[in-house]
């Protein structure tokens, strides 16, 4: 029973943070048809913004989170303007998805190494957003930080859902994801929507970065593991499907905590990978994705 409660609580925590980082990737893929490899760097940048705000300037945690969102939103917008916007409509030797995979990867390389130059290779300790911990069940406790992380992640994902479902900009983003030509014909400003979408996704990753930095550290390579986990989540859920991503995030969280409790941390990633492999062999487009061949 103790194991069971421990697995469930950590599945909730992991799943929420994976969802927050991965949903942005899925949103970008759904709208722009690019796989944003700079998403991991946004987690890293968010962590450093959190460290600067909380440790260097002693700011309020709420201020730190907002600052991280604003900074990574701006960075995501700039990334789109530099690495994606010039390529739109210029389908040359390589196809768009491959080229943008490479350009966003290049942005990630640059960001990681600029961080390495500016902050140095040493890990920075970031204090938890909220101190203390909550006792759940015999021997199982969850820190308030993790609880806040899960809560804010869920709130942000819900807010994203509301934004996409109710607001004018959100509807425009969904329209572009569904049918870009139809969206253009009803005067949706497609080229202005792209930077905003990428900024939004990066902002969510940045907020996730502040939380993750307190769980682990802020370091130049802090974004690598979240990127890998987000990739696994979006592949499992089906690229472009937000609901599928959400399911997959909690499923991956559950599998990971199951592995960690029952087998050990070393094997959790390989086992997760094996599971994804099996899913993809049976369903090549993930759990909820639509066939990508139809889109190409």
């Amino acid at each position: 029973m103790t194991d069971f409660v421990a697995i469930l609580t950590s599945a909730l925590v992991y799943g929420s943070i994976y969802g927050l980082v991965a949903i942005g990737m899925s949103l970008i893929y759904g709208t722009l048809r690019i796989l944003d490899m700079s998403q991991g760097s946004m987690v890293m940048v968010g962590g450093y913004v959190g460290w600067s705000a909380l440790v260097k300037y002693g700011a309020n945690p709420v201020v730190a989170l907002v600052l991280a969102f604003v900074a990574t939103f701006a960075l995501g917008t700039i990334t789109e303007l530099i690495s994606v916007q010039p390529l739109i409509g210029r389908r040359r030797d390589l196809d768009f998805e491959m080229v943008t995979f490479i350009t966003t990867f290049a942005v990630a390389i640059v960001l990681t190494n600029v961080a390495l130059q500016h902050f140095g290779p040493f890990q920075k300790n970031v204090p938890p957003i909220v101190a203390g911990s909550l006792h759940v069940y015999k021997g199982v406790s969850i820190s308030y930080h993790e609880l806040t992380m899960a809560g804010i992640s869920i709130a942000l994902i819900a807010a994203l859902g509301l934004f996409l479902g109710r607001t004018r900009w959100g509807l425009a983003i969904r329209a572009v994801a569904q049918d870009i030509d139809a969206a253009r014909s009803v005067a949706v400003p497609v080229t202005r929507l792209y930077p905003a979408t990428m900024g939004l996704a990066s902002g969510l990753a940045g907020v996730g970065g502040v939380f993750l930095a307190a769980l682990y550290f802020a370091s130049p390579t802090a974004g690598d593991l979240p990127l890998l986990q987000a990739l696994i989540v979006v592949v499992l859920g089906g690229l472009g499907s937000l609901i599928g991503t959400l399911y997959a995030a909690y499923l991956v969280g559950l599998m990971q905590s199951l592995c960690e409790v029952e087998i050990g941390t070393t094997w959790s990633l390989p086992i997760l990978y094996g599971a994804i492999l099996l899913v993809l062999v049976v369903r090549p487009n993930g759990l909820k994705g639509s066939p990508s061949a139809a889109r190409l």
Partner: protein, 352 residues
């Protein structure tokens, strides 16, 4: 073989033979140990890049797991070198190649049903997981974070300068053989099938070519070459660590391939040379190497699509068209095929 080499003009033949002779004689005249080490390392990276270019550029399969295959080739070859000492080292290197080819073929199977971006995700995650497992290796096979235990290498009895030269020639031979094989393969049945699957998968399948077996063959061949590169690296450096399959070597290799020109025969050669020169020039600013390379990668993709090899072939085409125009002013000049006009924007031909 005739098809490839009879198509070369006399001038190209001279150039090719001259380049091979110069490259062979180079270490006789040049002895600086530091730069020779840099050159041999670049040669090994070039072998890896040739193998990666084959599967990524020519076959058009988005395999981003090549570095893990490369490292696994090194581990496989190294295992033979350490645990079966009666096997001659060149054979052990071949064993590394075969082991890598096996893993690569196994990796090909789950990607058979996947398209584009999913393939890249699966293979990228594969390389990260292999790195993670090798780093936390519980069995002690890979040496974990300390790296693989030292192996004797190809020339245990030679002095440092002579063995450097030896490695130079061995790697140069592997490069020459693999590039000649690729040149032949490009116009062989398999090569044409690969390109046609890349460009029109459905049509190729409808003409009776099995995309699966062709893809598996591409993975196997490229994995074999990558494994040989890995084993050579292990022999040359005496050790290999898991950081060899990390993100920064991968970004450097991708930069090399893209700068040189993905999918072209000379692309890896040009790209590896250019990036190695940039890296060596920036050796006093190690922190800025990757930043600058990343920026160059971005600029090349945006402004020089097709890389340097693509730009060269475009400009020679233009010069030829211009010459033909001068020689024969009555007939209309052959139109220079501009890549912009090949296909319309991807956004207009999308049907959902």
């Amino acid at each position: 073989m005739n098809g490839v080499f009879s198509s070369l003009s006399a001038g190209r033949w001279t150039l090719l033979v001259g380049a091979v002779v110069l490259a062979t004689l180079f270490p006789v005249a040049y002895h600086d140990p530091y730069y020779m080490t840099v050159i041999v390392t670049a040669e090994i990276v070039l072998i890896l890049n040739i193998s990666w270019n084959f599967v990524l550029g020519m076959a058009g399969v988005w395999n981003f797991g090549q570095l893990a295959i490369y490292a696994l080739g090194a581990y496989g070859g190294g295992w033979v070198m350490l645990h079966a000492r009666w096997v001659p080292v060149p054979l052990a290197i071949l064993c590394g190649g075969l082991f890598a080819a096996t893993v690569s073929v196994l990796l090909a199977f789950p990607t058979l049903r996947l398209f584009g971006i999913y393939t890249s995700l699966l293979t990228f995650a594969f390389s990260q997981v292999v790195q993670y497992v090798a780093l936390n290796d519980p069995g002690g096979l890979t040496g974990g974070a300390f790296g693989f235990p030292a192996v004797p290498g190809l020339f245990p009895d030679l002095g440092p300068a002579a063995s450097l030269r030896g490695y130079y020639w061995v790697c140069a031979a592997v490069i020459a053989i693999s590039m000649a094989a690729l040149a032949w393969l490009r116009q062989s049945h398999l090569g044409i099938a690969l390109r046609s699957i890349r460009d029109a998968p459905a049509y190729t399948a409808s003409r009776g070519i099995d995309p699966r077996s062709v893809r598996i063959a591409a993975f196997g061949l490229s994995g074999f070459l990558a494994g040989i590169a890995g084993s050579l690296y292990l022999c040359f450096q005496q050790s290999i660590t898991t950081s060899q399959m990390g993100l920064s070597p991968m970004s450097i290799d991708v930069t090399m391939l893209v700068i040189g020109g993905l999918g072209t025969l000379s692309g890896p050669l040009i790209g590896t040379a250019v990036v190695t020169v940039i890296q060596t020039a920036l050796i006093s600013y190690p922190g800025w190497q990757l930043t600058i390379l990343g920026a160059i990668l971005l600029l090349i993709v945006i402004f020089v699509p097709g890389g340097i090899a693509g730009a060269i072939s475009r400009s020679t085409q233009r010069v030829r068209a211009w010459v033909a125009e001068g020689e024969d002013s009555d007939s209309a000049p052959p139109p220079v095929r501009s890549p912009d006009t090949v296909r319309p924007s991807r956004f207009s031909d999308r049907s959902t």
